[in-house]
Amino acid sequence: MEKWENNKAWFLVLPVFIIVAFSAIIPLMTVVNYSLQDIWGPGQQVFVGIEWFEEMLANERLQDALWRQFLFSGLVLLIEIPLGILIALAMPKRGWGVSASLVTLAVPLLIPWNVIGTIWIIFTRPDIGLFGVTINSLGIAFDHTARPLDAWITTMLMEVWHWTPLVVLLAYAGLRAIPEAYYQAARIDGASVWATFRYIQLPKMRGVLTIAVLLRWMDSFLIYAEPFALTGGGPGNATTFLSIYLVKIATGQFDLGPAAAFSLIYFLIILLFSFIFYQALLNVGKGDK
């Protein structure tokens, strides 16, 4: 094969390359750089190889935070996806109810994340919060600042309230895109409500649900602002998720090397699971032929 003599076309790729370099490659390589060194101060550093990675992987507090994080994200997916589909199925299909429910659902999505944490602190306070006072007056002791289970319940409620609407909006869009003829054919074929859901609605929502699962997986795995505002990771370490712990190491203790190694491990876990979910959802229901 003859080589092209004029390679100027490569310059056309340059703008994209520069943007990607500044937005992704350079920050990532900076983190890689930190993760391989021990830094005491400006100009005082020594190359340590993969020592930080070994240390971090062996760190028990990190392992605890990791399992906590898996439990949290797992619960988020298990609750929000089915709940979101159910709400989308129950939503009105025409008339003024459509706009009314869409706007109502969108409200939690529009609130800044640390404000959400603050709202829920006040909402669940045992002395003045609507939720806290109500549930305590029913005779159930509830205090998210003192009891780990209550802190978890509050965090989950907040997360479900905050993000289920996103799943609803996606699922609703998916449902509205199904042509009327499918429902008509299902009626003529005598399909039950469950069969209509299982064989028409669910398969037709596959695309939007894939997006919903990926977004909720990534976002919940990265969650920081809301639990930080709500519990600050406590009581004890009960709600110290990965990113809360990471920030403690990086800016609290200023251990840049370990924090960088941790960040990379964190990044790879999210990437790996996103890939697995994507492949699984892409191929689900494809059968053997």
Binding site: P179, A181, Y182, Q184, A185, R187, I188, D189, G190, A191, S192, A195, Y199, I200, P203, K204, G285, K286, G287, K289
Partner: protein, 361 residues
């Protein structure tokens, strides 16, 4: 098996219809004989699909009743009626195999698995789907998909009628012919009532024994393709059936002669009689293929100026001006087309008379 009747049916999509134009179906009162092959023909938006959905039960009519074999089914949902419907775009259950797609209506009705298998294999055989049974339905070509949609109707042995809503729209032209022939075969083999909605007159005329022409929510005429062609009951039917459509010219009648301005055209006695007694705007109508075109004056002919001649392969379409009115003739390929002036003769038996757009007979 069922004879389907619509009794004084009207339908409006608005909740409180007031004007006549609020109705998608204005007034339908008709009967579909058991085992017939019917085509519902009409332009887009004339209410064909609405009518079909009322028959199948997907829509409940605003007024009137639907009956199968004299049994009132107006209030019954589609799954309780012994009817199947094939839609414009193939509807498949994507995640299922072809076999499971065909079995779906039976399984929903709790049929035992051995009967399901027997029926599915029979229907797959009729539709030439046997080699595809194990395949996933999603990846197939449009014609196979449409056959599966039809198959889901055929597997149910209680089905009396199958409704088709422009089923060949998404099929390639070549396959259209094959599939239409297949439909005819199935009709002859199974003797089910077929009601076929289309806006394509060729499709309607080749498929059906009886064609029903619809326009703006009303059934204008029901008849064999030949009857519709030769004796259109309304100007619309004359325009809509045939290509090009029927010619219409305003006339006055005196004795046995119709006058277009100063030109005279001889009518047969019966037609002239009807014309003299009719009130309203009178027009004569003639099919382009029945209009005789001569290069010179012959007995009973009238002069016209030639505007255009289109050669369409096996025939020519001539567009002419007859005393200020446009008129078209369809002449065989072999006949020479006059260049500037032509003489037209209106054969009496093909010259129809219309009063206020309706055929006099």
């Amino acid at each position: 098996m069922a004879q389907i009747e619509l009794l004084d049916v009207a339908h409006s999509y608005s909740d409180s219809p007031t004007k006549k134009s609020d109705f998608a179906l204005k007034h339908i009162h008709d009967r579909w004989q058991d085992g017939g092959a019917y085509a519902l023909l009409g332009p887009s938006g004339c209410g064909k699909t609405t009518l079909l959905n009322i028959i199948s039960g997907l829509l409940t009519p605003s007024q009137g009743r639907v009956s199968y074999d004299g049994r009132d089914v107006t209030a019954l949902p589609p799954e309780k009626r012994n009817i199947a419907q094939v839609f414009q775009f193939p509807v498949l259950y994507d995640t299922m195999s072809v076999y499971d797609n065909l079995a779906f209506p039976l399984r929903n009705r709790g049929t035992c698995e051995s009967d399901v298998q027997r029926r599915v294999l029979e229907v797959a055989d009729i539709l030439d789907l046997s080699p595809l049974l194990k395949k996933r339905a999603a990846g197939l070509a449009a014609d196979a998909k449409q056959k599966i949609s039809l198959g889901r109707g055929l597997v149910r042995n209680d089905v009396a009628a199958i409704l088709f809503d422009e089923p060949l729209t998404v099929i390639d032209p070549q396959l259209k012919w094959d599939l239409r022939r297949k439909l005819k075969e199935i009709h002859e083999q199974l003797k089910l009532t077929f009601i076929y909605v289309t806006h394509d007159q060729v499709e309607a005329l080749t498929f059906a024994d009886q064609v029903m022409v619809m326009y703006e929510g009303e059934l204008f005429q029901t008849g064999t393709p030949q009857a519709l062609f030769e004796n259109p009951s309304h100007k619309f039917v004359g325009y809509f059936i045939g290509s090009p459509g029927m010619n219409f010219l305003p006339v006055t009648i005196d004795g046995n002669t119709a006058f277009i301005n100063e030109l005279s055209i001889k009518l047969d006695d019966k037609t002239a009689d009807l014309g003299r007694n009719a009130s309203g705007k009178l027009e004569i109508g003639i099919r382009p293929m029945y209009l005789e075109v001569h290069p010179v004056s012959v007995n009973g002919s009238v002069p016209a100026t030639v505007r255009a001649v289109e050669d369409q392969g096996s025939f020519k379409i001539m567009t002419m001006n007859l005393s200020g009115h446009m008129i078209r003739a369809k002449i065989p390929e072999g006949n020479p087309a006059p260049q500037n002036n032509a003489w037209l003769r209106f054969p009496a038996q093909w010259t129809k008379l219309f009063a206020d757009e309706r055929l006099l007979n």
